[in-house]
Amino acid sequence: MAALHVVEAVEPATEPAKKRPPRKIRAFTIDDWFSTIGSLLASLALVWIVYDHILDGSGILGFAVCWYMAFLIVYAAVASVSNPRHIVVDRMVTVSLYIAAAIVIGALASTVIYTFFEGWRAFVHANFFTHDMSAVSPTAPLNQGGILHAIVGTIIEVGIAVAVSVPLGVGTAVYMTEVGGRGSKLVRTVVEAMTALPEILAGLFIYVVLIVGFGMSKSGLAVSAAMAVTMVPIIARASEVALRVVPSGLREASSALGATHWYTVRKVVLPSALAGLGTAVILAIARGIGETAIPLICSGASSFLNFNPSGVPMNSLPLFIYTAYTTHEPGAIIRAFGAASVLLTMVLALFVAARFLLRDKSARR
């Protein structure tokens, strides 16, 4: 008992001086909570009642829009009861921002979930991953045929495109950040502009040069070349950012020790930017893997498994999705969604890898 008394007596004296949690600056008071939730409920009730009169039978989307409008009006009214104007404006902006973020994330989530939801009927069949579509008609049941040829085609095409575009992209970034010179500013502007080059123009360009000009046939190799055209600027731009954040002190230290510029870049700059470079490549792959217009122009949709990228048409996942969609057969649509799920899984896997790379870097620092 006595010991306890001592503790109690000592504690108030030392506690405030030692550890006081920092005061919360942006506290949400009870008043705020009630006005927000109250407005939400009030607007919901209001829209519930009058909805049929404004937007007769226009579905969930119309209801959501009405609720949003009503909520903003009600919330503004509630907030202006006890607050000056600039605080009312701030509150309105805050809720609008939260709702905008929810809309965008909701749209993204609905895309991902809907694709998997529609696609699962195709990929519960194992043959979907182990067979191709040769001698299988689009109307055939789902336990026949599969997308192995499209998966293999995508992997081969992207692999070649990566092998071509990584040296070019990273080399351009090195030129912009390490070498510099008169042309580097122009190159930076052009690279920035090229990152948004429509994929179909890259496809047309390769078609004109390689297929019309050099007489190459429509093939996976042409697709890879066009993919590389779109991937180089993406890699270059993202790698440039990664190289730019390498502290210049490291470069100076290396130079001061007598290393040549090339040695500095090879042994100091590139290794310290490795995580950023990896992320750049992954982002570019994620972009290239989903390009639809390029295979549509540079390769035909074959229905059989094919490991040879040159000379013969090669299918890929986006092209498979598109051709399956154009048949408008219910079974083919399910296959399209199945292929879309596989494509999305690949993109998601790349993203997890990118996040892992970045986290690894921040953990090491």
Partner: protein, 339 residues
Amino acid sequence: MTSTIGAPSPLVPFKRKEPRLLLPGLDPSDRIFHGTARIIGMFVLVMTGAIGIFLGYQSIPTLHHYGFHFFTQTAWQPELDKIGIASVLVGTFEVALVAMTVAFPLALMLALFITDYAPKRVKSWLISAVDLMAAVPSIIYGLWGFYLLQPQAINLARWLSQYFGWFPLFHVDTDANAAVWQQSRYTSSAFIAGLAVSMMAIPLACAVMRAVFDQAPIGEREAAMALGATRFGVARTVVFPFAKGGIIGGTMLALGRALGETAAVLIIVSPDFQIKARILEAGTQTTSALIAGYFGDATKSQLSALLTAGFVLFLITLVVNTGAAVVIGRSRSGASTEI
């Protein structure tokens, strides 16, 4: 000795020593390295130029044959020798306009939310989500727009045409008030295609805006806070003025993407070659969807016409994207990190 240090006497002129030569010429390996890097950099430049030159060269026969009519003719009927891209260009800009009308406010608000409002833990997840959104293939947004969004969006389209049909953009040539309304008049429109394209425009614009918002000077933010500004007050008086270039540039970059978007538009719209302002009505056509849709079974002369359309698209996107790159480049601060 001391006199020369304190004040050099006029009799003994201060002798300037030639500075030691620091760069006795580059090491051979560096010369190769610099040369290679420069060649690679120039290669990217040449590649862009080559895209324009090759497409331009291929479009000479078409422009020679049709002349200026190529830009004023609305129909695309090769069998009647009537080929033009007037309606297609209008459609391209309509879809992009819808996409940007939706994407600009959402991207701006999302970017501000990420930098100034979101809790720290949510922030990094939101950034990843935006990156992921940019990486989702456009054909998947096309399927999403066609099968999930369209059945919902046509109701909204009908409501707009019911109450705002007097405005030419929202007019639809059908009886909007009919008890059994013609749903097919509202499907496959520029409006729905624009909504799907906005999903690709949002992350692009948002990423640029977010990067610039993050650079807004912290001192000025704190100063505004200390003067009693609300969070929106800080955004309005500090962040937005600082990030004006990034906002404009990001929007232009997203516009360039929206103008050239292919797969999603190809899936959603039904081809229609007439100039019309009625964005809610079924049928429109964009340049990239025209090329992709008609490429498969084109004869040699049609191919040239499609390549000409591609050349026009190239010029448009090049102007928009380069403008964006210049604006963003100007607003960039700090070329490197110092320690």
